[in-house]
Symmetry: C2
Subunit: 256 residues, 2 copies
């Protein structure tokens, strides 16, 4: 199994604090040493970093921990290989284009007997069940809505149906974003927190690191962090229900 980290905000925010705790699980406090990756939306563009070295030993992970890239939507992943060999093409997150937007996807879980019919519009480059699921999602999104992206309620409804169908094959904890919304589906383990005014101090569980968010934010900032297992031990995280998909926009879950 792997671990997922996502961030959705109403102003571009850096993820240095959360990523530092998360990356520590990639080979030091946990067993996820078969690669890692992170993607940051910046406007319509994406900065995409993947590495098949363990996150704790990766020069790129080191750069990310020192360089406060600001983004409204981030998805990160550390990998413990279950399907697919340890190789760059099998590292999440994956990035593809649909409707003139980039889509970023990462998955934690293990799908059994998942062999969807792919029409060739989106084909996996590597050999993971995860990239297969991503290609299938994008194919079905285009099949349902054609060349024009639907509104968020219609898209959410379609994704609930599609993720539910995929999850019938096994654990399908996943995050998907087009840079405006972040969709998170939970099969087994996913937690989130919304940080907003009044901001407090947070302490990482995996590293001896504390940050006083009131010093680095304005009262209007709102940041949702979604992760496999809570990153801090002095805040209250909300656990997703099994089979639940939430949609985060501008730093909070929206009812759709």
């Amino acid at each position: 199994m792997c671990q997922l980290l996502g961030m959705n905000c109403n102003v571009p925010t850096d993820i240095v604090f959360s990523f530092t705790g998360f990356a520590t699980r990639g080979g030091r406090t946990d067993v996820h040493h078969d690669g890692w990756g992170i993607a940051f939306f910046e406007g319509a563009g994406v900065r995409h970093f993947v590495d098949h070295a363990a996150a704790v030993a990766s020069p790129v992970a080191d750069l990310i921990k020192r360089w406060p890239i600001k983004s409204k939507n981030v998805i990160a992943h550390i990998r413990k290989a279950t399907q697919g060999r340890i190789a760059l093409e099998n590292c999440h997150p994956f990035v593809r284009e649909l409707w003139g937007r980039y889509w970023v996807f990462a998955h934690n879980g293990d799908l059994k007997d998942f062999k969807p019919e792919l029409n060739g519009a989106f084909q996996p480059v590597g050999n993971t069940d995860s990239e297969m699921a991503f290609c299938y999602l994008l194919q079905e999104m285009r099949r349902r809505f054609g060349g024009t992206p639907p509104g968020l309620p219609e898209l959410t409804s379609a994704l609930r149906e599609l993720t539910g169908a995929i999850a019938a094959h096994g654990a399908f904890n996943m995050m998907l974003s087009d840079g405006s919304a972040l969709f998170a589906h939970c099969s087994t383990n996913l937690h989130y927190i919304v940080r907003k005014h009044p901001f407090a101090t947070a302490k990482l569980s995996d590293e001896d690191m504390t940050v006083d968010f009131s010093q680095v934010t304005t009262p209007n900032d709102r940041v949702a962090v979604i992760v496999t297992a809570p990153l801090t031990d002095n805040e209250t995280w909300t656990q997703f229900g099994q089979g639940e998909m939430k949609v985060f926009v501008e730093g909070e879950p929206v009812a759709l």
Copy 2:
């Protein structure tokens, strides 16, 4: 206008020497300060770095200069904006998937009245003529060959025709790679060199830096470097003809 750098080798090779000279043109010895990018194939996977900061001021460019990533196919680009604002989504190289492989593309030049009909299979995310040309190339490749990639001779023949047609709209110096071959089309300016046994010492034109390749290679290594303007001043570079497209495989141009 922009500048292009490509490398195609028969063994994974690092591009630190060439990239160091090339990146210096991104804001110091030349005017290309509107972003830069580089993509490295590693097996079927791609490491993709883009930044809208000048290459000389970019923390990622600094990492690339210090970290010897080994690859058989690399494409890099430094940008002087002609079309499209300075933004991450407009930085080359661009990466898309076709036939279950990643394709990497970068362009130098300026296309006028280039408005190809796009069927939606590949849509630009940014607003450059370059990304439009890339989407059009991939669309036409799929239209001609369907879901199965053709052999290299057939693909080369199709690309000669397509790049020629695009070049009718203006300067279209471009590089395209799927990780096995590197296609380079010249409208105005492109040079290449093949380094092989017996290796000699090379001296950068843009930086006070010298490397003795005989110390860092084996006699079987072969490396083709393709670039807008020669990077070294003590080697003989071959200039492409106007309208010429060359295909590099395993470190040398092949006759197709």
